[in-house]
């Protein structure tokens, strides 16, 4: 086992497979965001290029961020952990401050200083991944001692989870919890502790999902969306009506009919349905394979990482992309409950796109020190 820091001269070139996969995915996302949104954007904003322009702007910003993190030696992240945690909680609270927080569609998820809006929850994911990786890779950590190891990142995550949940943003909080869970698991939480953890959290989760009738309906509507086709089942039905008729080869780029108001905000969470409709099974599988390549290279980076911190960090950012991708595709294919989570690199997004690209930069930086 080797120990950081490593001399600058030992750096290798980063894993370019990661870089090119990200590039292809974002470029593809740009095309699909335009295809999915131009009609609704023209109608509602009088500008067909609205989402295209915004997406291009954030991809540009993301590339700058990715370039920075690729060259920012990963062990330096350790030093900014307290600062990141502080900023995280401040931002999450800012959402609730009138004037700073922006309310859209009944949810307070964004903050603004007049310009573009930023979603603090996206930063939360990165901040907590770095924190959990840094904390659990400390020399004196004994994973057998639950209260002094796994419990700490769990508490931090729990607090953020609740703050994001009340926004409300179920999808992001679930993805966050799962990502941090994976880091704790990878760090080596004993099976016994894991068992107890699940036993204790199960009643809480059940209570939460069953406490409100609408929530339960929403969660289980994916099993039979036709039971309530205009409320809870609506999006799933519309998504299936997009995917199904797409067939093997799709109806052709730009020719989706479901994006014409059947599927609400087709450039966001349900963009994968539009891909499946326009480019067919083959197009959808191509995208899934690209994601698989990225995730596989991410875990490979983690396996070959020079130390525990970098390994956990690589696992964390890779898990984040994997969790979101699988949850998103699971939702749009009607395989799991609707959670409201976007497809990394592809869905129209601002801060989510930016922070995901920055995370990929971290991954690439770690890959420069791989054994």
């Amino acid at each position: 086992m080797r120990k950081a820091p490593i001399k600058q001269e030992l750096r290798k070139p980063p894993d370019f497979t990661i870089f090119f996969t990200v590039l292809i995915l974002t470029a593809f996302g740009l095309v699909m965001v335009f295809s999915a949104s131009y009609i609704t954007a023209l109608e509602s904003r009088g500008d067909a290029f609205f989402f295209l322009r915004r997406q291009a702007f954030w991809i540009g910003l993301g590339l700058v961020g990715m370039y920075f993190t690729t060259n920012f030696s990963y062990w330096k992240w350790r030093k900014v952990v307290p600062l990141m945690l502080l900023v995280n909680f401040l931002l999450l609270l800012c959402v609730f401050i009138p004037g700073l927080g922006v309310e859209t569609g009944g949810a307070r998820r964004w903050i603004t200083l007049g310009g573009p809006t930023v979603q603090p929850a996206e930063f939360t994911k990165l901040a907590l991944i770095v924190f959990a990786a840094a904390f659990l890779s400390k020399k004196n950590i004994n994973m057998q001692d639950f209260w002094r190891s796994s419990f700490v990142p769990l508490v931090m995550t729990g607090c953020s989870f609740l703050l994001i949940l009340v926004q409300p943003d179920l999808g992001t909080s679930v993805a966050l919890a799962m990502t941090i869970g994976i880091i704790i698991f990878a760090a080596g939480i004993p099976w016994k502790q894991l068992f107890y953890l699940i036993i204790f959290s199960l009643p809480l989760m059940l209570y939460f999902s069953l406490s409100e009738k609408y929530r339960m309906q929403r969660i289980f509507s994916f099993l039979d969306p036709w039971a309530d086709p205009l409320d809870t089942g609506y999006q799933i039905i519309q998504s299936l009506y997009a995917l199904g008729p797409g067939g093997l080869f799709g109806v052709g780029l730009g020719r989706s009919r479901q994006k014409l108001y059947y599927l609400p905000e087709p450039q966001n969470d349900f963009i994968f349905s539009i891909i499946g409709e326009e480019l067919g099974f083959l197009g959808a599988v191509t995208i899934m394979l690209l994601f698989f390549v990225l995730i596989w290279r991410g875990f490979k980076t983690s396996l070959l990482a020079p130390d525990n911190f970098s390994s956990l960090l690589a696992t964390g950012v890779t898990a984040m992309v994997a969790v979101q991708t699988l949850l998103n595709i699971g939702v749009v294919t009607g395989s799991i409950p609707v959670t409201g989570i976007n497809l990394p690199f592809i869905s129209a997004g601002g801060s989510s796109l930016f922070f995901t690209m920055c995370s990929m930069g971290i991954l690439m930086n770690i890959s420069r020190y791989n054994r």
Partner: protein
């Protein structure tokens, strides 16, 4: 790197691979195995949103008389069932609805970005058409019959220019701008108020449309209703208009004009009258002739457009005319306030006057002898007012015109389109002819000839100002606005736009002069037997014709009762002063009889 950590990370790789494979299989199941099932379902069974048009607010007269309401009508629409529009269906519909195919395609194209919505082709079709479509609906898929509220103007032409009409056209650009500023969104191609109250009150009259989400089958028939959002009806308007008085005014104007036209007066054909409350500016009646029938506006349009008497123009506010002697109170006020004459001061009328090389005579060459301002108003002596005009000068005269609300809109905003009219002045002549003002012209201006041109509403407002001592109230038509549940949304408040700063005694002088008009010896002596004391002024606006035989416009302004004025009115009959004498006076008399409920003989 811990062995354990490596092991556990590997677990994830396997897990991710498994989930990926599951999702791939799921996708293959949906897109390949079940392709035909979903394709058929998506093509044939579509969720559609059928908008439910909100009923527009109704309009009532002040006495509760219903003027505008809605009735159910059938609308033929076309729905895209996923395969585009069927050529045969469109050919069939074009024949059935007597529309060009190109027109139908244009309607479809205009809705390209909302093509999940039905395209409305024709509203208010007959029951016969509906049953024809219903019989053959399997042959022609995608044709939909909806029941929609159709605007119903209960009394046809009654109050037409005030109420306006509905159309699917566009609104004037400035109205659109105004709506944009106030945040009112209107959809082009949707029915929208085109004139009168329908246009000006569109944002409140129009409710919020609702909608039903339905699943339609391959012929476009709804097979299941899912969610229904009820439309919110528009607000109701209660007007200041007194329906029974309005009816009297309209009938009197129509009869008068018909009589004139039947009597070989080929110039006659237009007339207007306004009655308002000088205590607040509320308009009690507002009529002109000819008008359109708002129920059949679009069918009648080609004829209306050709009519030389312009039924599309609201002559009360959108047209201005010479006013003749009804103007003389302006000159009288200018002369009194500027000290050109006192109440007692006298001028000798010898039938003619010669000043600045111009000789002008009194009306029809009458010789009035020596008279004071009261007698001058009573007998409408031109010589007296020529002299007054020359004493105060054209600039002062123009100033008093503007004080009385001439030369600019008087502020009616409940319906749009008020014209500003013309005040005779040096500037106006210079702009028109690039010529200087001749002093002799001041004489014409002083008796209401020259360039003066005034809307009937301005005339009535000015009469009200004489009656109430110089207060210019904003004229208004809408007394209150009530929502569909009966809650009060808005109540009109009288608004003072201007108050003339002149000696109170001068108002009394002029009022007294006007009251003498309806006494024996006055120009309105035909009103002498009227049981309520009426202050009035007659007017005969000469029109210079090539052969000199064009009948003059006939005007009459009045307010009553003299002591406590409740109504002020102005009547204008275009070319209404022929061999029979004034035709506006009998109209005014009928209005006053109706208002004071005096039985006619």
């Amino acid at each position: 790197m811990d062995k354990k950590m490596l092991q556990r990370t590997r677990i994830f790789i396997y897990l991710v691979i498994v989930i990926f494979i599951v999702l791939l299989l799921r996708l293959a199941f949906l897109q390949v195995y079940r392709y035909e099932y979903y394709w058929a379902r998506a093509e044939k069974n579509r969720l559609r949103i059928l908008p439910i048009t909100a009923p527009r607010g109704e309009i009532f007269a002040r006495d509760g008389e219903q003027l505008v309401t809605n009735r159910p009508g059938f609308t033929v629409s076309l729905v895209d069932l996923g395969q585009g529009y069927n050529e045969n269906t469109i050919t069939y519909l074009s024949r059935l609805l007597a529309m060009d195919e190109a027109e139908i395609w244009q309607k479809i194209d205009s809705q390209f970005y909302r093509r999940y919505l039905p395209v409305r082709l024709k509203t208010d079709v007959s029951m016969e058409t509906v049953s024809k479509i219903a019989e053959r609906r399997l042959e022609y898929p995608g044709v939909l019959i909806e029941v929609q509220p159709i605007r119903n103007y209960v009394h046809g032409k009654f109050l037409a220019h005030v109420l306006g009409y509905m159309g699917e056209g566009v609104v004037p650009p400035w109205v659109e701008e105004h709506w944009e500023e106030t945040g009112y969104e209107y959809q082009q191609g949707e029915p929208v108020g085109q004139a009168g109250l329908e246009l000006a009150w569109e944002p409140l009259l129009r409710g919020e449309d609702g909608g039903i989400q339905v699943e339609v089958n391959s012929t476009g028939q709804a097979i299941g209703e899912f969610e229904r959002v009820e439309p919110k009806p528009g607000h109701d308007l209660y007007l200041t208009i007194d329906a029974s008085l309005q009816l009297v005014v309209e009938e009197a104007l129509n009869e008068t004009v018909e009589d004139l036209m039947a009597g070989n007066n080929r110039y006659a054909g237009e007339a207007a009258a306004v009655v308002l409350d000088p205590r607040c500016g509320a308009i009690l009646a507002m009529a002109d002739t000819p008008v359109y029938n708002p129920n059949t506006f679009s069918e009648d349009f080609p004829i209306l457009e050709q009519d030389p008497h312009r039924p599309l123009v609201n002559k009360v506010i959108e047209e201005h005319y010479p006013v003749g002697s009804t103007f003389k109170m302006v000159t009288a006020m200018a002369a009194l306030q500027e000290g050109a004459i006192t109440k007692e001061g006298r001028v000798f009328c010898g039938g003619t006057i010669t000043r600045y090389n111009a000789t002008k005579s009194c009306f029809r060459g009458t010789v009035h002898g020596s008279l004071n301002i009261l007698q001058a108003l009573q007998r409408s002596c031109n010589i007296f007012f020529y002299e007054m005009g020359l004493r105060v000068g054209v600039d002062t005269l123009a100033h008093y015109c503007r004080e009385f609300g001439f030369g600019s809109p008087v502020g009616l905003t409940d319906i749009f389109g008020e014209k500003k009219g013309i005040v005779a002045s040096r500037e106006f002549k210079r702009n028109l002819y690039q010529e200087a003002w001749y002093p002799a012209e001041t004489m014409d201006a002083a008796i209401g000839q020259s360039f003066h041109s005034i809307t009937p509403l301005q005339l009535a407002n000015y009469t009200a100002m004489v009656a109430n001592g110089g207060i210019h109230y904003r004229p208004y038509l809408v007394e209150k606005v009530v929502d569909c549940e009966g809650n009060l949304v808005m109540v009109a408040e009288p608004e003072v736009l201007h108050k003339m700063e002149v000696e109170q005694a001068h108002w009394e002088t002029i009022q007294q002069g006007m009251s003498l008009v309806t006494t024996p010896g006055g120009t309105g002596a035909r009103m002498a037997d009227f049981p309520v004391k009426v202050a009035a002024k007659t007017g005969t606006a000469q029109v210079v014709g090539r052969d000199g035989s064009i009948p003059a416009h006939s005007l009459f302004v009045a307010y009553a009762p003299f002591e406590e004025p409740e109504i002020a009115l102005a009547v204008f009959i275009k070319h209404g002063e022929d061999w029979r004498g004034s035709t506006s006076l009998p109209v005014a008399r009928k209005i006053l009889e109706a208002y004071f409920q005096i039985p006619t003989d």
